[in-house]
C-alpha cells in the first residue's frame, strides 16, 4: 500500500511534520539461540512494508542459497548481515534496523543468543527502552532467558514482551503458553521488571506479529506490534535535576568560552544558577547555544553549549548541575559489573574507567558476590569470568562525578577497559557512593615528605627490580643497597620472598594473589617513600598492569623501573633454587616464564642483563643513574 501523501508541498510538509512528531521506541530482541529473534525482526520489517523490491529479490536468492526454511523466505537473512552469520545460520553481533508504522518509529537491535556473544547483546540492551525476549514454546524458560532477563533488569529496562514462539510446534496449546507465561511472570517479579506482556506467536508465519492469529482464537491480548505501538515507556527523566557532562570546552577566541555537552538530565534556562563539579563553584548561565541558535532553555537529550557569568576553570569531564541538587562525588562506589573479557576480572588490578567524559583509574577493591543466573542467588567468588555478573566495590584514583544508574544511564553507566590490550572488559552500573572516602578525612600532618627528604639529604624513590626468577634481581638490589648505605643514605629493601614470610603470608600464587601481593608491596613502598627513604623492591612482578599501578601511586620521577632482563635460558641454566626444574616437571603450576607469562617493561628507566654484565657492574649503573638524577 502506497502511503497517502499530499501533492502540494504544504501537504508534504504536514506529512513530514507528522513523521517527525512520531515518537521513536528503541527496543531489542533477545533470548536463546534459535528461538527466532532474527526471524521476528525480519518479519516486522517485511510486514511493515519497508522492504524494497531489490532487497526482496536478494532475500529470495539468499533464502535459496543459505536459508534454513527449505526454500521459503528466510526472514533472518534480512538481519544477519555478516557473511559468517549467513553461512552458519546464527547471529554473532547486534544489527540495528529501522521501521515505522502509522503511530511510531522503531529502532530495533537484533541481538545474538549465544552465550559467548553476551557482550553484543549487552551493547544492544544498553540503549533500549524495551525488550522483546523470545522463548521456544517447546523449551520454555532456559538459562539464557534468565541471563538476558537479568541483564535487562541490570540495565534498567522496565518493559518486556515475552514472545512465546513456535506455537505451531506445540499444537497451539493454550495451557503450554499459560505455563510459560506464569514461569516468566515469577522470574520478572524476582528481577523487579515491572511491566511484562506475554504474546504467543509464530514468527515465521506472522501469527500475532502484525495481525492476530486465527490459529490461536483463545488468545485475546495484543499483537506484538499493537503493544509496541501503544506501550508508554516514558520515565520522566526530564523532571530530574539538571546535569550537563562537559564534553568539550569551546574557545574559538578570547571573547567566547563555552561548555559543550548533551544534557543528561533535567533542563536549564538562561539566568539559572548552576554548580560545577567536582569543584563545587557556582555561576549563572548567560547563554544557551543550540547549534548556532541562541535559545532560552534546553532539556534532556539536547546537545548544547552554555556560557557562564564567571570565569571558572572547567574542563572535559566536569559536570554542570542544578545548584540545589548535587550529583554523587566520591572515590569509592558500590556497583554491578557484567564481565565481557576472556581474561577474568582481577581484584586489585587497575583498569581504565570511562564514564561520560571522565577517564579514571579504577581498582575492584572487593567482589561482594557473583550472581548465579540460574538460581538468582548470591555466590561467594574470588573473580568474575566471561559473562558473569557481580556486585563490587570500586576504588578510584580521584573523585568521580556521577549519579546512581537508576537515576539515569548517562550519569550512572560506565565501562572498564584493559589498560594494555584496550579491550572493553566490563560494563558497570553505579549503585551508590561509599561514604568512606568522606568519612575518613585525610589527616593533614605538619611534617611532610619534602621536610623528611631534606633531613636525609636525598630524594626518596622506589627502585623497582622486575624480571624472571633467577635473573639476579635480589643480588643486584642487595649490592645497590650496600653501596647506598656506604654513601650514608637511608634505604629499605623489600624482597619478594621475604615479604611472603610476613605481610603477604596469606597469599598464594594464583594470578589474583600475585596482583594483591604486588598491590601491598606498592602501598608499603609508597609509605616508605613518604618517610623519605630510598626503597628497593625485588619482585618478579610479571604483569605490566601492576607495575603501572605501582608507578601511578607515586609522583613523577619517584618510580624507577629496573628491568633485570636476563634471558629465560640463562635463568633456567642458573636455577639457584631448583624452581625451573620443578616447574618443568609440572610440580609448580603458574611459574613465571614456564606456565605463566612475563610481560617485559616497554620503557624501563634502566635495563640490565646479568648474562653479559656482572652483578657489580649492574649495581654501579644503578648508582650512576641515581647520582645523575640527583637522588643521592
Amino acid at each position: 500500500m502506497a502511503p497517502a501523501f499530499g501533492d502540494t508541498d504544504a501537504d508534504l510538509d504536514s506529512l513530514l511534520h507528522a513523521q517527525a512528531d512520531k515518537p521513536t521506541l528503541r527496543f531489542i530482541t533477545c533470548g536463546s539461540v534459535d528461538d527466532g529473534k532474527s526471524t521476528l525482526v525480519g518479519r516486522l520489517l517485511y510486514d511493515s512494508k519497508l522492504l524494497f523490491d531489490d532487497q526482496l529479490t536478494a532475500l529470495e536468492a539468499e533464502s535459496k542459497a543459505y536459508g534454513t526454511t527449505g526454500g521459503d523466505l528466510d526472514f533472518a537473512l534480512l538481519v544477519d548481515g555478516l557473511q559468517a552469520e549467513r553461512e552458519q545460520g546464527i547471529t554473532i553481533d547486534v544489527a540495528y534496523r529501522f521501521f515505522a508504522t502509522q503511530k511510531r518509529r522503531f529502532i530495533v537491535a537484533d541481538t545474538p543468543g549465544h552465550e559467548q556473544y553476551t557482550r553484543n547483546m549487552a551493547t544492544g540492551a544498553s540503549n533500549a527502552e524495551l525488550a522483546v525476549i523470545l522463548v521456544d514454546a517447546r523449551k520454555g524458560i532456559v538459562t539464557q532467558t534468565r541471563r538476558h532477563s537479568y541483564i535487562l533488569a541490570l540495565f534498567g529496562i522496565r518493559h518486556v514482551v515475552l514472545a512465546v514462539n513456535k506455537m505451531d510446534l506445540v499444537g497451539f496449546d493454550a495451557d503450554r503458553f499459560a505455563a510459560i507465561a506464569k514461569d516468566y511472570g515469577e522470574l520478572a517479579r524476582r528481577l523487579e521488571i515491572p511491566h511484562v506482556q506475554c504474546v504467543p506467536v509464530v514468527a515465521r508465519d506472522g501469527d500475532n506479529i502484525f495481525i492476530g492469529s486465527s490459529r490461536m482464537p483463545w488468545y485475546d491480548g495484543p499483537t506484538i506490534i499493537d503493544y509496541l505501538e501503544s506501550v508508554d515507556v516514558a520515565r520522566d527523566l526530564a523532571r530530574r535535576p539538571f546535569r550537563l557532562p562537559v564534553q568539550w570546552v569551546n574557545r574559538p577566541n578570547a571573547d567566547f568560552r563555552g561548555y559543550s555537552g548533551r544534557i543528561a538530565g533535567g533542563s536549564v534556562s538562561v539566568g539559572e544558577e548552576v554548580a560545577v563539579h567536582p569543584s563545587g563553584r557556582r555561576s549563572k548561565v548567560t547563554r544557551i547555544l543550540d547549534g548556532d541558535r541562541d535559545v532560552r532553555e534546553a532539556a534532556r537529550g539536547q546537545s548544547v553549549t552554555l556560557t557562564l557569568a564567571d570565569e571558572i576553570d572547567i574542563s572535559r569531564g566536569n559536570v554542570l548541575a542544578a545548584a540545589d541538587a548535587p550529583p554523587l562525588i566520591a572515590d569509592q562506589f558500590a556497583a554491578h559489573l557484567l564481565w565481557f573479557d576472556e581474561a577474568p576480572m582481577l581484584p586489585g588490578r587497575r583498569y581504565v574507567m570511562k564514564s561520560g567524559g571522565q577517564t579514571l583509574s579504577a581498582v575492584i577493591s572487593t567482589l561482594k558476590y557473583r550472581m548465579s543466573v540460574d538460581t538468582l542467588e548470591h555466590q561467594a567468588a574470588a573473580t568474575l569470568k566471561l559473562n558473569e555478573i557481580g556486585s563490587v566495590n570500586l576504588a578510584l584514583d580521584r573523585p568521580l562525578v556521577c549519579d546512581a544508574y537508576r537515576d539515569g544511564r548517562e550519569m550512572g553507566g560506565f565501562v572498564l577497559i584493559d589498560a594494555f590490550s584496550h579491550r572493553t572488559v566490563a560494563a558497570g552500573t553505579i549503585d551508590f557512593a561509599l561514604r568512606r572516602a568522606t568519612n575518613i578525612a585525610w589527616q593533614e600532618l605538619d611534617i611532610d615528605k619534602a621536610l623528611r627528604s631534606r633531613l636525609k639529604h636525598q630524594r626518596p624513590c622506589v627502585l623497582w627490580f622486575t624480571g624472571l626468577s633467577g635473573a639476579g634481581k635480589s643480588t643486584v638490589a642487595n649490592l645497590v643497597d650496600k653501596e647506598l648505605c656506604a654513601l650514608g643514605r637511608h634505604t629499605y629493601l623489600l624482597d619478594g620472598d621475604n615479604i611472603r614470610h610476613g605481610l603477604n603470608r596469606d597469599l598464594g600464587f594464583t594470578v589474583e594473589a600475585r596482583v594483591e601481593n604486588i598491590r601491598r608491596v606498592a602501598e608499603v613502598s609508597r609509605l616508605f617513600v613518604d618517610a623519605g627513604l630510598i626503597v628497593l623492591v625485588s619482585l618478579i612482578s610479571p604483569f605490566r598492569a601492576e607495575r603501572q599501578m605501582a608507578r601511578a601511586l607515586l609522583e613523577p620521577g619517584e618510580f624507577v623501573e629496573i628491568h633485570v632482563a636476563t634471558p629465560l635460558a640463562e635463568c633456567e641454566r642458573r636455577d639457584p633454587k631448583g624452581l625451573y626444574r620443578r616447574a618443568r616437571a609440572g610440580e609448580i603450576p603458574n611459574f613465571t616464564g614456564i606456565g605463566s607469562p612475563y610481560e617485559p617493561p616497554e620503557a624501563p628507566e634502566i635495563r640490565l642483563d646479568t648474562s653479559s654484565l656482572p652483578a657489580e657492574g649492574a649495581a654501579e649503573r644503578v648508582i650512576a643513574y641515581l647520582k645523575r638524577g640527583g637522588y643521592v
Binding site: 544489527a95 553484543n120 560494563a427
Partner: protein, 300 residues
C-alpha cells in the same frame, strides 16, 4: 518541558559523537565524499563547534572519476565555510592507469578508494576518520559500531567488535591503530532528506532531475559526464530527464528516470520508492557480502 523531536534527537546524538571525536583523538579527520550524507555531516560539524570551526580538516579521496559537478561543489563549499580541505589521489593508481572502464568496479574501487584512503590516513597520521555511513544503507553496515576499531593494517574485525555501551565510547588505540567513526549511524535515508529540507542544507545539483546525456548499460543509466567514457558500437548518448539517488564515480553510478526537481519532489518520490538507494551502485553488486569484504579490507 516537551520531549525533543525525532530529528532533534538524531542531530543531538550526532553532535555528541562529533565532540567526543574532537576531545578524545590526537588527530582526527572528516571524510568528505560530497554526497548528501557528507553534506549533513558537515552541517552537523559546523553546529557542534559553533561559534568555532570544526577542529579537524576535511579529506576527499578523489578517484578522478567523480562527476564534474561534485568537484565544483566540493571546492565551493570548502571555500564558503573556510575549512581546510585535503584531496588525496592514489598517484600509483594513476601511474598504472587504473580506471573503472577497463579494470572494472572492483579493482578500481580497491585501488582508487580503499588503498587511497589507507595511504591518506597513513601519510597524515590520522587516528580517527569520521564518515557519513548509515546503518540503514546495507546489511553489514547495520552491524557496525559507531566507534569502529581498525587494526594498524586498517582492517575491520567484524566478528570481534568492541562492546559499545550507552554513549560511552572506548577510544583507546594501540600503536598504528585507528578508529572509524559514524555519527549518522542511526539516520535513515528519509531522515537525511527531511533534515536537508528543514535546515536548507546545500547539496550537489545532480540529486535533482534535469535533462542529462545518458547511455543504458546492463539495465543502468550511465551519464556521459566527460569524453573519457568510451561509447560502444551503436551506442549514442540520449538526453533523458534523470537524477541520482546516490553519487560516486560517474561510470559506476546509475541514474534514475525522474522528474523530481525540488526537495519536496525528492521526498515524495522516496516515500513511494520500491528500490533501495544502493541499487544504483555497481560496486555493491560484484558479489554477495561485497560491502563487508571491502570494509574488512579498509574501505570506509
Amino acid at each position: 518541558m516537551p520531549s525533543i523531536s525525532h530529528l532533534q534527537q538524531l542531530e543531538s546524538e550526532s553532535i555528541h559523537i562529533l565532540r567526543e571525536v574532537a576531545a578524545e583523538f590526537r588527530k582526527p579527520v572528516m571524510l568528505y565524499s560530497i554526497g548528501k550524507d557528507s553534506s549533513v555531516l558537515l552541517h552537523l560539524a559546523m553546529k557542534a563547534f559553533h561559534p568555532g570551526k570544526p577542529p579537524f580538516p576535511l579529506l576527499h579521496i578523489d578517484t578522478t572519476w567523480k562527476f564534474r559537478e561534485m568537484i565544483a561543489f566540493r571546492d565551493r563549499r570548502a571555500r564558503e565555510l573556510g575549512l581546510d580541505l585535503l584531496v588525496h589521489v592514489n598517484a600509483e593508481g594513476i601511474a598504472r592507469g587504473i580506471n573503472p572502464i577497463t579494470h572494472g568496479s572492483a579493482l578500481h574501487t580497491d585501488v582508487m578508494k580503499t588503498q587511497a584512503l589507507k595511504q591518506a590516513l597513513d601519510t597524515h597520521g590520522f587516528d580517527a576518520a569520521i564518515g557519513g555511513a548509515r546503518r540503514d544503507e546495507e546489511k553489514s553496515r547495520a552491524k557496525e559500531r559507531i566507534f569502529s576499531h581498525r587494526s594498524a593494517a586498517h582492517r575491520w574485525d567484524a566478528k570481534n567488535q568492541r562492546p559499545e555501551l550507552w554513549s560511552v565510547y572506548n577510544t583507546l588505540l594501540g600503536p598504528g591503530e585507528s578508529m572509524r567513526v559514524f555519527p549518522l549511524s542511526n539516520w535513515t535515508e528519509l531522515d537525511i532528506w527531511h533534515y536537508i529540507h528543514l535546515e536548507k542544507i546545500p547539496v550537489v545539483p545532480l540529486y535533482f532531475a534535469a535533462s542529462r546525456p545518458v547511455v543504458e548499460r546492463e539495465g543502468a543509466l550511465i551519464m556521459v559526464d566527460d569524453e573519457r567514457l568510451p561509447l560502444r558500437p551503436n551506442e549514442r548518448p540520449q538526453w533523458r530527464t534523470v537524477r541520482f539517488r546516490t553519487l560516486g564515480c560517474y561510470p559506476l553510478t546509475g541514474a534514475v528516470l525522474s522528474n523530481a526537481a525540488t526537495l519536496p519532489d525528492i521526498i515524495r518520490e522516496m516515500l513511494a520508492a520500491r528500490s533501495s538507494e544502493r541499487q544504483g551502485r555497481m560496486i555493491d553488486r560484484d558479489q554477495a557480502a561485497s560491502m563487508e569484504k571491502k570494509k574488512e579490507e579498509g574501505y570506509f
